[in-house]
């Protein structure tokens, strides 16, 4: 009893310590967002924003195109997350549950694609997009959506394949015996069990699409079509950076990611109960 308790205390203390170390830079960002300009950098650290101000936030929100760019970012992210989840789940099934000609080559290709540095692809990708068969994809959100989709798909397929492989095949076998169609078996049995994996890859896709900068900057020109990261970059000029407003903007853009996570995190907890089913 006491040993259990000591263990719990030790675990919780470690948890709190890890939390503090990890969160500190984020805290520094958020607290800067509440500091007046003169307090952003000080010789003696100001641990708390005192006096605190909301002017950085009002300044950030009132910058041109904020809400338009929020809309654009939300659109891009929703489409990327939804499509990547569906496409990668299907592909992961194929790779984890079937053996077929070309399977190895496909896996190697998917790994190799991720090794190409993004910066080296900017020019070739731009050439390809501006000469796309169905009309130029430059300065269009769809172009950026498709680009992000290809960047996250290899990762999602690959990760999901690992999750699918971790699930005993006997479960689908049982469903097949019970008279389900094969696809039905996949959807009814596998999907809930792969949920934690899907959540993990969705968070990944969400954050990648939400935070990507250079492709969005180069490919989207019109201010009304840009995403939030490009909007954020406008806080930095040759005359210096309005750090307080920038941090306020960054805090605002990080919020949706956290909200998304809090919404889906139950799925991770759900994974725990799913584990029980398996055993």
């Amino acid at each position: 009893m006491t040993r259990r308790r000591a263990e719990r205390i030790a675990l919780n203390t470690t948890g709190v310590l890890v939390f503090l170390v990890m969160i500190f830079p984020v805290y520094w960002m958020v607290s800067t967002a509440f500091k007046p300009g003169i307090d952003v950098q000080t010789f003696t650290p100001k641990w708390f924003p005192h006096p605190a101000t909301l002017s950085n936030f009002t300044d950030a929100i009132h910058r041109p195109y904020f809400w338009q760019d929020v809309k654009n970012s939300v659109f891009v992210v929703c489409v990327v997350v939804a499509l990547s989840a569906v496409l990668s789940f299907l592909a992961a099934l194929a790779l984890a549950r079937f053996r077929f000609y070309g399977r190895k080559a496909f896996i190697v290709l998917i790994i190799a694609v991720q090794m190409v540095p993004l910066n080296a692809l900017i020019i070739p990708l731009y050439i390809a997009f501006s000469n796309a068969p169905g009309g130029t994809q430059v300065n269009k959100l769809t172009g950026v959506v498709v680009a992000y989709l290809t960047f996250v798909l290899p990762f999602c397929i690959w990760t999901l394949r690992g999750f699918v492989m971790g699930i005993p095949q006997e479960l689908e076998e049982a469903a097949l015996v019970d008279g389900c169609s094969r696809f039905g078996a996949f959807v009814r049995i596998l999907l809930p069990l792969v949920a934690p994996g899907l959540v993990a890859t969705s968070i990944f896709a969400f954050i990648q699409a939400w935070n990507e900068y250079i492709i969005a900057y180069v490919f989207l020109s019109s201010p009304e079509k840009q995403t939030l990261t490009v909007w954020l970059a406008n806080f930095t000029t040759n005359r210096g950076t309005a750090w307080g407003s920038l941090m306020a903007g960054a805090t605002l853009t990080a919020l949706p990611v956290v909200a998304f996570f809090v919404i889906v995190h139950r799925k991770i907890a759900f994974g725990l109960t799913a584990g029980g089913v398996k055993g």
Binding site: L83, L141, V145, S181, F183, I214, G244
Partner: protein, 426 residues
């Protein structure tokens, strides 16, 4: 069966999405202008007014102004050149233009030069950055000069009367300041980051030295000349005795004005626009308004100022533009006398000497306009960009200030490197 259904749904969704966001075709009379976001944050009204003036001449002419960031605008520019949809007008920094001029990216404007407003009185420093092999490839936009920004109250309390007019007086004054305030480990009488090569080269040019020169059609690095060595030795002793800035950062990390706003710096070499920036409540300290002053950096020769580097911007028309005439007309509207007056009032030095009086009338701008009378500029050759890319000057300065190398050894190594980079075949 169901798989096919899912696939079909995905395709349908993708198509619907594509259709919903597809934009209308661009009009033939529309031009795209790329300006840096300094304009967006500083003189967006002037930009809007220029477009209005342009539209009086070209009714229905559409101008899309897109603001860019300094860090990535060349990446984007290169990509759009490759993709065949570069803008019709682009703002480039005056140290960025040479590479593009030399490679034929910009349209030759020599024939139309006289049609641009004030083209007879353009600032030489900017005009030079638009001229390659005798031809004009861009239009000067604006510039900034550097001067010493200082704290009047610190100077007064340290017993300094007026502002120094020679370098030796400047050194003496700084010593007084260090004596009075120097016990505070964070205090700098003259805040000078080690990699501030613009301000450092000012010393070299003041002593008559140069970064490089041409001899018999070849470039030769000349930082190891006796003049340059004397200049850099003098600078080293000033930096070591009066500055507590980092020796390994440059003049924008952090901006000296940020440190200046915190009462620990008596003076620094700053650009004209750093004045309002220092007082901006978002980044600086508005309380300093009454105790701030500026004066041109004094030369080691009495009666002169140290030459300043004119860092500025130019406006070019890429050869790929399909509306070069419209583009030129927009530039004319944007560099008109009235537009330039507005830009000058925003704290910049306008592109023409005839408007320097606007700056001279404002005590916050006058010292910088005064300093702009003596200037120096980087060697105009496409390979110069590679000297900057290789950080030759910054490395040399860091080695000198930190004592890793003697002034002689560091300058000799840098000169050699500059010679080899500037003469490399393209």
């Amino acid at each position: 069966m169901k798989i096919r259904l899912v696939a079909a749904t995905i395709v349908a969704v993708a198509l619907a999405v594509a259709a919903s966001t597809a934009s209308g075709a661009s009009k033939a009379t529309s031009i795209t202008v790329w300006l840096q976001n300094d304009a967006q944050n500083g003189w967006a009204d002037t930009v809007a007014q220029a477009t209005k003036d342009f539209q009086k001449e070209h009714p229905g002419g559409n101008v899309d102004v897109h603001y860019q960031t300094w860090t990535d605008h060349l990446t984007k520019f290169d990509a759009t050149i490759a993709g065949g949809n570069a803008p019709d007008v682009i703002e480039l920094g005056n140290t960025e233009t040479t590479k593009y001029m030399a490679n034929g990216v910009f349209a030759d404007l020599s024939a139309q030069k006289s049609s641009f407003p004030n083209s007879g009185t353009w600032l030489k420093g900017l005009k030079d950055s638009c001229t390659y092999q005798g031809k004009l490839f861009c239009v000067p936009y604006y510039t900034g000069a550097r001067a010493v920004i200082y704290r009047k109250d610190f100077y007064a309390k340290a017993g300094i009367k007026g502002t120094p007019t020679t370098l030796s007086a400047f050194v003496v004054d700084n010593q007084k300041l260090m004596k009075k305030y120097g016990k505070d480990a964070n205090f700098s009488a003259f805040y000078f980051p080690g990699k501030n090569w613009y301000a450092s080269m000012a010393f070299v040019y003041d002593w008559g030295g140069k970064i490089a020169t041409t001899r018999k059609g070849k470039w030769v690095g000349t930082l190891d000349s006796p003049q340059a060595i004397t200049a850099l030795t003098t600078l080293k002793s000033i930096v070591k005795s009066t500055s507590r800035a980092s020796l390994t950062t440059d003049e924008s990390h952090p901006y000296p004005s940020v440190v200046f706003a915190k009462d620990k710096v008596a003076s620094f070499v700053g650009n004209g626009w750093e004045w309002p920036y220092t007082l901006d409540p978002k980044v600086g300290n508005p309380a300093l308004a009454d105790v701030m002053g500026a004066y041109p950096m004094p030369s080691h020769v009495k009666g002169r100022y140290m030459p300043t580097f004119l860092g500025g911007s130019d406006l070019g028309i890429p050869v790929t533009s399909k509306n070069k005439d419209l583009a030129a007309d927009w530039i004319k509207a944007f560099t008109s006398t009235s537009a330039m007056t507005q830009i000058a009032k925003a704290g910049n030095i306008p592109n023409t000497t005839t408007l320097l009086k606007v700056n001279a009338a404002d005590p916050k701008l006058a010292p910088f306009a005064e300093a702009a009378k003596f200037t120096w500029f980087i060697p105009v050759t496409p390979n110069w960009a590679n000297v900057e890319n290789a950080n030759v000057l910054q490395n040399m300065l860091v080695n000198i200030f930190t004592g890793k190398q003697s002034v002689k050894a560091a300058t000799t190594a840098a000169s050699k490197q500059i010679t080899s980079i500037l003469n490399a075949s393209a």
